[in-house]
């Protein structure tokens, strides 16, 4: 029993399960799944679908945090990626009433992803080559990125009319949302790369002890650069899902507060902000927790505004639990008779 409770995924899973149970108690039909219109239908499917963009971004963020970094520009990159895709696809009504894309779909998608990856690479350059603190380096893109996205869309919300574009955010495959498949595929691909190549080992060593990793001959700079690039790419994928889902690109609102949710998802899942060990599964569960919470609050009839307060409490709790000083305080309070003589600083 003790071994189960000490498993790193224990608390995230329990939290998620708790949320699902509470939701089901308040809304009996919560866990119900039906088959409708050729796909699975139900509150749970809804949660999975909505959580997909967050899952994707959080997966990218996990690696960045694992190397002791941070990327707060992912929201802006989502907006940029959505804008690029929407602009390139566009969609105009032809004489026959069919909608044609301005550029082939694959060009639009590939361009959006390329731009997003370039954003990530830019962040990585600032951190690795210019030696900037990650918060500062990614703050710049966070500030300027929205402006760039606005520039691309001309301040308008660009509506996409080309139906094939919508499958990413609205379609279903084998009964489950396409977005979920994409998130799942990314998770599996990442897992394979991390466990079948040396990348996982290198990332953990860089985050665990950057100096030791360097002495051991790990090419820390190159790997860190790759990690930031991937984070940008992941944000790009999320941008495609989001814009596909709402059939438009809104440079102002797309990805708003997403970076904060992503950091929260990563920490809820058990990856420490101090870097080193990380868990992809934990991050996925963390994203699900956040989305389930949002849905639960909504379905409970509680005003959605409570969402932010709850997230704040969650962040505080996780932070305190990860703080050594806090754990020491709790340990001391739990054992008031323990002698402290000679133990100083």
């Amino acid at each position: 029993m003790k071994r189960i409770t000490q498993h790193p995924l224990f608390w995230p899973v329990i939290t998620l399960a708790l949320l699902l149970v509470v939701s089901a108690l308040f809304q009996p039909s919560f866990l119900a799944l039906t088959w409708r219109d050729g796909h699975l239908y139900g509150s749970v499917i809804d949660i999975l679908n909505r959580a997909a963009p967050l899952m994707v971004v959080s997966l990218g963020m996990t690696l960045v945090i694992a190397v002791r970094g941070l990327d707060i520009s992912v929201g802006a990159v989502v907006a940029i990626s959505a804008a690029v895709a929407a602009l390139l696809v566009g969609g105009s009504f032809s004489a026959t009433g069919e909608v044609q894309a301005v550029h082939p779909l694959w060009v639009a998608l590939a361009s959006a992803l390329a731009v997003a990856a370039a954003c990530g690479w830019w962040n990585g350059l600032l951190v690795v080559k210019a030696g900037m603190q990650p918060i500062v380096a990614t703050l710049i893109l966070m500030v300027a990125g929205r402006g760039i996205a606005q520039l691309l869309t001309g301040g308008q919300i660009i509506t996409v009319y080309y139906p094939p574009f919508f499958t990413l955010g609205n379609g279903f495959f084998l009964g489950l949302p396409v977005a979920l498949w994409v998130a799942g595929a990314l998770w599996i691909a990442l897992h394979l790369v991390l466990s079948r190549t040396a990348l996982g080992l290198f990332v953990r060593s860089i985050g665990g002890n950057p100096e030791a990793a360097r002495v051991a001959g790990v090419r820390s700079s190159a790997i860190t650069l790759c990690v930031y690039t991937f984070c940008g790419l992941a944000a790009g994928v999320a941008g495609l899902i989001v814009s596909s889902n709402v059939k438009s690109a809104d440079a102002n609102n797309a990805g708003q507060l997403l970076e904060l949710d992503a950091i929260l998802a990563v920490t809820l899942g058990g990856t420490a902000l101090t870097g080193g060990r990380f868990t992809l599964a934990g991050t996925v569960i963390g994203a699900l927790i956040i989305q389930t919470l949002t849905s639960m609050i909504y379905s409970l009839g509680v005003p959605p505004e409570v969402n932010l307060v709850v997230k704040a409490v969650l962040v505080f709790t996780v932070m305190m639990l990860q703080s050594a000083e806090f754990r020491q305080l709790v340990a001391r309070l739990a054992r008031p008779d323990k002698s402290l003589a000679g133990n100083r600083r």
């Binding site: 941070l70 210019a130 030696g131 900037m132 603190q133 918060i135 500062v136 380096a137 703050l139 710049i140 893109l141 966070m142 500030v143 300027a144 990125g145 929205r146 402006g147 760039i148 606005q150 520039l151 001309g154 301040g155 904060l260 950091i263 902000l273 005003p303 959605p304 505004e305 409570v306 969402n307 932010l308 307060v309 709850v310 997230k311 704040a312 409490v313 962040v315 505080f316 932070m319 305190m320 703080s323 050594a324 000083e325 806090f326 305080l329």
Partner: protein, 317 residues
């Protein structure tokens, strides 16, 4: 003197932009246009001053925008309930200071990352805003209205608002604190090297809490100034303002790593942000979101310059 170099660069940049505007657009360089820079950005100025102290100590405060919004909403709500306007102002100031102090305490006592604590604080404050009201609450109080409309003549037909006056007063008081009080000097010392400052016996812990208290207080004061400006309380006020405040501080010459910078620089940082917007407005053809891009580019430039500057001056760990 070498230490005034960043400040000089900032002031030079401001002068250059003003000159550019004067040359390119008619009526750009009137006194009122310049005063408008302060009037329109008074709340940003107040908040950025508080942020300056936090950044000087090597920290960061992401909650200020949300605190401003919370201040406006609480003010509007209290006034609606019939509270005395001055009691309202005093209350929100105390609340802001308390909020900041709480964040500071958590950061100092449990050695938490300032970025995270103030991020959670931002969530919390913004969430409380939404809980109180999602709609905009107009402020109808007579005193507030009077303050909002008051104009202090400065000469030459130009005038300043009370908000603008408060902003300038805050800058002056902050300059005094930074230069002449033990608290202010300890802030610089912490930024120069926290462990060295501790070894010197300076009261590092209480000062660390103090800077966040000050930042919360400034955010609340900025919120009050905003209520004069907007005459409403709204949970969506000041979204993203913390980034503007940080940008103003950095462009003003304060190192993000801490220890180096002047409050006067922040004032010019705010003026530069204001003048960018004014230039774009005067131009008319550029969309307003160019502001975000220019601010981002300036931030990058100043950060890179700071890395060069830091490379020359070795810092104590």
């Amino acid at each position: 003197m070498k230490r005034l170099l960043p400040l000089t660069v900032t002031i030079a940049l401001f002068v250059a932009m003003a000159a550019f505007g004067a040359v390119r657009y008619e009526g750009f360089l009137s006194l009122q246009v310049l005063l408008n820079l302060i009037i329109d950005n008074a709340f940003l100025c107040v908040v950025a001053v508080g942020m300056t102290f936090v950044i000087l100590s090597g920290g960061i405060d992401l909650s200020v925008g949300a605190l401003i919004a919370l201040t406006t909403i609480i003010s509007a709500t209290l006034l609606d309930l019939g509270w005395n306007p001055y009691a309202t102002m005093a209350t929100v100031l105390v609340l802001g200071a308390a909020f900041g102090a709480l964040q500071g305490f958590l950061i100092q006592r449990f050695n938490l990352a300032p970025f995270l604590v103030t991020l959670a604080g931002m969530f919390l404050a913004r969430g409380c805003c939404y809980l109180i009201s999602t709609e905009s609450i107009p402020i109808n109080d007579a005193t507030y209205a009077a303050i909002a409309q008051a104009r202090i003549p400065v000469g030459g037909g130009a005038s300043l608002t009370i908000g603008g006056l408060i902003a300038l007063a805050v800058v002056a008081i902050a300059m005094r604190i930074a230069h002449s009080t033990e608290f202010g000097r300890t802030v610089y010392a912490i930024g120069g090297g926290e462990s060295s400052a501790r070894l010197m016996g300076l009261s590092v812990d209480s000062t660390k809490v103090g800077v966040y208290l000050l930042s919360g207080l400034c955010a609340a004061l900025g919120g009050i100034v905003m209520t004069f400006y907007m005459l409403s309380g709204y949970s969506l006020h000041a979204v993203g303002l913390e980034l503007d405040a940080i940008a103003a501080v950095v462009i003003g010459g304060t190192l993000l790593a801490g220890g180096v910078g002047y409050v006067a620089g922040t004032l010019f940082g705010v003026l530069i942000l204001g003048i960018i917007q004014t230039l774009i407005a005067f131009d008319g053809s550029l969309s307003s979101w160019w502001t975000r891009i220019v601010v981002g580019a300036l931030l990058l430039l100043f950060c890179l310059l700071q890395r060069l500057f830091e490379g020359r001056t070795p810092r104590a760990s």
